[in-house]
C-alpha cells in the first residue's frame, strides 16, 4: 500500500491514537491507520491482484475455496479473525497444514487483508439441524464413519473430517454430500508446484493379470507402480508390468446421497454435526509441534 497525502492528515493521527490504544503491536497500529477510505480502494485492487497471482491456486479465484485451501469469504477464520491474526497466518503460514509462510512485504499483506475483507460473504445457509442426531446419522445409517475418520476413529478411505468445519463452507459440505464427484472436476493445483501432485480421492480400478478388479483410492502412482488403498481399506501395491490395466474412474468412491436416501431434515442434522468439527485444541498444530 502506498502512503498518500490523506494518510498524513489529522485523521491519521487521531486514528493512530485510537487504534494504538487497543492494539498491542505498534507497527500494526500505524498500518491500520492508513486504511483511510481514500486508499482503501487502491489497497483492495492491489490485494486482489496479489491474491490472484499467489493465493488463488489453493483458495480459488474468488477466495471461495479451492482444491486445497479453505473458503476465505465465510467469515470463519480458524486461525484468528483479527487483522493481526490474518497477517500472521499469511506471513508465517500455519504449521501442520498446507498453508505456507509467504514472503510478501507488509504493505502487500495489508492489501491482501483489505481485499479479503472486501469480499461479500457467500449466501448464508442456515443450519437448523440437530448435531446430536447428525452424529448418529454419521456413525449409523448413512455410513459416513465407515470411510471418514473423526478424531481418531472411523474409516480410512475418505478425508479425515476432524476439522472439516474449519476449512469448508456449509454450501461445500452440502455439495460434497449430494454430488461427491463435483469437486474432482474443480480441483486447482498450485501452478508453481511443478511436482505434479497425484489426484487425491480419484477412484482407481486395477485389473490384475488374472482379470480380477480391485477398486480404491490411489495413494500414489507413477509409470511403473500403483499404491492403492482398496475399498477393503487394505493397501494393495502393484507393479504396472504385472497388471492388465489401471483405470482412472474420474469419479469419487463416495456414494451420492440424494434426497431419497438422505432427506433434507437428515441432511440438516448431518451438517449441524459436521459444523461442530473444528479440530481438537491439543493437536499441536498452532505450536508446530
Amino acid at each position: 500500500m502506498q502512503e498518500t497525502p490523506a494518510a498524513n492528515s489529522g485523521i491519521k493521527g487521531l486514528l493512530t491514537a485510537l487504534v494504538a490504544g487497543f492494539l498491542v503491536y505498534s507497527t500494526l497500529a500505524v498500518e491500520a491507520a492508513t486504511f483511510t477510505p481514500k486508499n482503501k480502494a487502491t489497497a483492495i485492487k492491489e490485494g486482489a491482484s496479489l491474491f490472484r497471482a499467489n493465493c488463488s491456486p489453493c483458495h480459488g479465484l474468488g477466495a471461495r475455496g479451492g482444491g486445497r485451501g479453505p473458503d476465505l469469504t465465510s467469515g470463519r477464520w480458524t486461525h484468528g479473525s483479527t487483522d493481526s491474526d490474518i497477517f500472521r497466518t499469511i506471513t508465517q503460514g500455519v504449521p501442520g497444514t498446507e498453508m505456507p509462510a509467504n514472503g510478501f512485504e507488509d504493505s502487500e499483506v495489508w492489501s491482501i487483508i483489505a481485499y479479503l475483507r472486501s469480499l461479500a460473504p457467500p449466501k448464508r445457509h442456515a443450519v437448523s439441524g440437530d448435531a446430536a442426531k447428525g452424529k448418529e446419522i454419521f456413525s449409523g445409517e448413512a455410513g459416513c464413519s465407515g470411510c471418514h475418520m473423526v478424531n481418531g476413529s472411523g474409516g480410512l478411505l475418505g478425508p479425515d473430517l476432524s476439522r472439516v468445519a474449519a476449512a469448508r463452507s456449509v454450501a461445500y459440505l452440502i455439495e460434497s454430500i449430494r454430488s461427491p464427484d463435483k469437486e474432482l472436476s474443480t480441483g486447482m493445483l498450485d501452478p508453481n508446484n511443478h511436482y505434479g501432485l497425484p489426484l487425491v480421492y480419484d477412484t482407481v480400478t486395477v485389473v490384475t493379470a488374472g482379470g480380477s478388479k480391485i477398486t480404491g483410492i490411489a495413494r500414489n502412482e507413477d509409470t511403473f507402480s500403483v499404491q492403492l488403498l482398496g475399498a477393503d481399506q487394505k493397501l494393495h501395491l502393484f507393479l504396472t508390468k504385472d497388471v492388465k490395466e489401471v483405470i482412472h474412474e474420474r469419479k469419487s468412491l463416495m456414494p451420492r446421497y440424494p434426497e431419497e436416501t438422505l432427506p433434507a431434515s437428515q441432511l440438516q442434522d448431518l451438517i449441524a454435526y459436521l459444523e461442530t468439527l473444528r479440530g481438537r485444541e491439543d493437536n499441536g498444530a498452532r505450536a508446530g509441534k
Binding site: S49, A53, P57, L189, P191, H194, T223, F224
Partner: protein, 530 residues
C-alpha cells in the same frame, strides 16, 4: 637422475596443461567423449555421447557407483561438467562443488553468500558451470558472474551484472566461447528488461551486452506500446549453442512481461520468445526469429537450439531445429534465420498452424480472459527448458513433453520493481489430469516415431548415446534407460524425488558413467564389470 627429474617435471607439466580447457578443446568436445565439457556436451546442443560401453543389451545391469549429497533442498537443476576425472557441479542456493568423478568424493565445496531477499520465479536453482582454462564460471542468483579456481573453488573474480533487488537473477549455465563467458538473465516473471552478456574469462570485464528488449531508437522498439518495453521481460535463461564456422551464438529468449496480460504491451514484443543469432565477438544481432509474437501464455522459447548440417530438400544446409514450448517443432536455416518448416508435436489450440513465413495463425477466440480460457499447451508448455537430445545414429530428436492444458486468466497489474508481474494466473485444466511422455521425433519432419508415457508432467530432459540408449528422468522420481530406436524400457530406478535436470555421461579408467542430479544428490551409475 637428472633425466628422471626432467621426465617427471615434463609429465607434471603436461598433466597440468591437460587440465586446462582450451577454446580448441571446446570446439573439439565431440572428440573427447570421456569428458563432458559444456552444458549440452558440445556446441551443437546435441546432448549426445559417442560412449557405447552401456548399450541396449546391458543397460539393465546398471548399478549405483556412488552418490553425492549436496546438502540442500529445492530443485536440483545442474548439468555437471566432467574434465579429466573431475566433476564440477552447482547446486541449490548457489552451492557448487568439485568431485572425484570415480568415487564421488568432494575435492572442494563452495556456497555463495546470497542476500536475504531474492526473487527467482521458480526456485533457488542453478543449471551449472562453464569451464575454460583452469577455471569454472557460474552465474549467480544475485545477478553476479563469478570465476572459481577449478582445483580449489577459490573465488577469482566476481562482477555484478544487474540489480537483484529489481528481480534480475541468473539461473543459467554460462557458455564459454573463445575467451568469453556468455550468460543470459532470468526474471521474466518480474518485469526485468532481458539481456545476454559476454565477460572476459580472464578478468571478468564485460565485453558486450545484447538487450533483448530494444530501447528507443533501436530496431524493434516499435513492437512495444508506450513504455511497456521498460518492463518487457524477454529473459534469456537457457544456455545457447554456437556455430564456430559462422561465428554465431544461438540464444533463445523467454516470455514478455507481464506474461499473462498483454493489454498494455501492444505489438509483437520483440525479441521475446525468439531465437537470436548473435555475432560471438561483438554481440551484434545477425538475425532473429520470433516463435510466439505478443505471447499471452508464457511460451518462453528457452529450449536448447539443436544445430544440424544435413540435406534439406536435396541440398546441404545448415539447420537449427527446436521443439518449442508453444507446441510447434521448427526447422530454421541458421545462416540467416529463414523459416523452413513447423509442425505441432502434440495438442495445440492457441494457434491453428504456422503460416509460410513462420508466423503463428493465432486462434483469436482463445485469448485469455478475466474469467479464464482453456488453452493448449498450458503455461508450462508442450515441452520446456529441460534439454532435448539429438542422436545422429537414429536421426531422432528426443523431447520430454506434457499434455497439460491450462485455464488462463488475465487481468491488468501495476508494475512494482522487484515484485512479480504476471497479469494474473493460470491453473491446470481440471478435466484431464496432466501427464507427459518422452517423445522421439524425426529431426527433420517432427513426425513422432515413438512415445514413452510418463505418469506426470516431466521436468527432466534427455541424453542419448551411441550405445543406442536414451536416458531420461520423470517427475515421479524414476531415472529411465530407453532403447533409442523403439522407446522400450531397458532399465529404471526410483531415486525418490522429481528429476529436474538431465543426465550426462563420461568415462574414467575405462568405465562409462551416467550421472543424474535428483533431489539433493548426484547419482552415478555404471555397469558392474564392464
Amino acid at each position: 637422475m637428472k633425466r628422471t627429474l626432467l621426465v617427471a617435471f615434463l609429465l607434471t607439466a603436461s598433466a597440468g596443461l591437460r587440465s586446462q580447457v582450451t577454446p580448441q578443446r571446446l570446439l573439439d568436445a565431440a572428440r573427447e567423449p570421456q569428458n563432458w565439457l559444456t552444458y549440452s556436451g558440445r556446441y551443437s546442443g546435441w546432448r549426445y555421447s559417442t560412449l557405447n560401453q552401456i548399450d541396449t543389451g546391458n543397460a539393465s545391469r546398471l548399478t549405483l557407483q556412488w552418490a553425492f549429497q549436496v546438502g540442500d533442498l529445492g530443485q536440483f537443476e545442474t548439468t555437471p561438467l566432467v574434465v579429466d576425472g573431475v566433476l564440477y557441479g552447482t547446486g541449490q542456493n548457489d552451492r557448487a562443488f568439485a568431485l572425484d568423478a570415480r568415487t564421488g568424493r568432494a575435492i572442494w565445496r563452495y556456497q555463495r553468500n546470497l542476500p536475504e531477499k531474492l526473487q527467482p520465479c521458480c526456485g533457488m536453482v542453478n543449471r551449472g558451470f562453464a569451464m575454460l582454462g583452469g577455471r569454472v564460471f557460474m552465474a549467480t542468483l544475485d545477478a553476479h558472474v563469478i570465476a572459481l579456481d577449478a582445483k580449489t573453488g577459490n573465488l577469482l573474480w566476481d562482477v555484478t551484472a544487474a540489480d537483484y533487488r529489481k528481480a534480475y537473477t541468473f539461473t543459467v549455465a554460462p557458455l564459454a566461447v573463445k575467451n568469453e563467458i556468455i550468460v543470459g538473465v532470468s526474471g521474466g516473471e518480474y518485469g526485468v528488461r532481458g539481456f545476454i552478456d559476454a565477460y572476459d574469462a580472464a578478468t571478468g570485464r564485460r565485453l558486450w551486452r545484447f538487450e533483448t528488449v530494444p530501447g528507443p531508437g533501436q530496431p524493434g522498439h516499435e513492437t512495444w506500446a508506450g513504455d511497456s518495453w521498460e518492463t518487457g521481460g524477454a529473459p534469456a535463461w537457457i544456455t545457447g549453442t554456437y556455430d564456430p564456422d559462422l561465428n554465431l551464438i544461438y540464444w533463445p529468449t523467454g516470455n514478455p512481461s507481464p506474461s499473462n496480460y498483454g493489454g498494455e504491451r501492444g505489438g509483437d514484443n520483440l525479441y521475446s520468445n525468439s531465437m537470436l543469432a548473435l555475432d560471438a565477438d561483438t554481440g551484434k544481432l545477425k538475425w532473429y526469429f520470433q516463435f510466439t509474437p505478443h505471447d499471452l501464455y508464457d511460451y518462453d522459447a528457452t529450449q536448447v537450439p539443436i544445430l544440424l548440417d544435413t540435406d534439406w530438400e536435396g541440398h546441404p544446409r545448415k539447420l537449427l531445429v527446436q521443439a518449442n514450448r508453444n507446441g510447434f517443432f521448427y526447422v530454421l536455416d541458421r545462416t540467416d534465420g529463414k523459416f523452413l518448416f513447423a509442425k505441432a508435436f502434440g495438442d495445440v489450440t492457441w494457434a491453428k498452424g504456422i503460416d509460410p513465413q513462420g508466423k503463428p495463425i493465432v486462434n483469436t477466440g482463445l485469448r485469455s480472459s478475466p474469467e479464464g480460457t482453456r488453452v493448449c499447451p498450458g503455461a508450462l508448455g508442450l515441452t520446456n527448458w529441460y534439454s532435448p537430445s539429438y542422436s545422429p545414429q537414429t536421426r531422432l530428436l528426443y523431447v520430454a513433453t506434457s499434455t497439460e492444458c491450462d485455464i488462463f486468466t488475465s487481468s491488468p497489474q501495476a508494475y512494482r520493481a522487484g515484485h512479480d508481474f504476471l497479469g494474473s494466473v493460470y491453473v491446470p485444466d481440471p478435466v484431464a489430469r496432466p501427464t507427459g511422455a518422452l517423445k522421439a521425433l524425426d529431426v527433420l519432419t517432427g513426425t513422432e516415431k515413438w512415445s514413452f508415457p510418463y505418469f506426470s508432467n516431466p521436468n527432466g530432459g534427455a541424453l542419448s548415446t551411441s550405445g543406442g540408449v536414451v536416458f531420461a528422468g520423470d517427475s515421479d522420481g524414476n531415472f529411465i534407460a530407453l532403447d533409442a530406436k523403439t522407446g522400450r524400457d531397458l532399465w529404471h530406478v526410483q531415486l525418490g524425488a522429481a528429476v529436474y535436470s538431465t543426465a550426462i555421461t563420461f568415462e574414467v579408467d575405462g568405465k562409462q558413467y551416467v550421472v543424474v542430479p535428483v533431489g539433493s544428490a548426484l547419482f552415478a551409475f555404471a555397469l558392474p564389470q564392464p
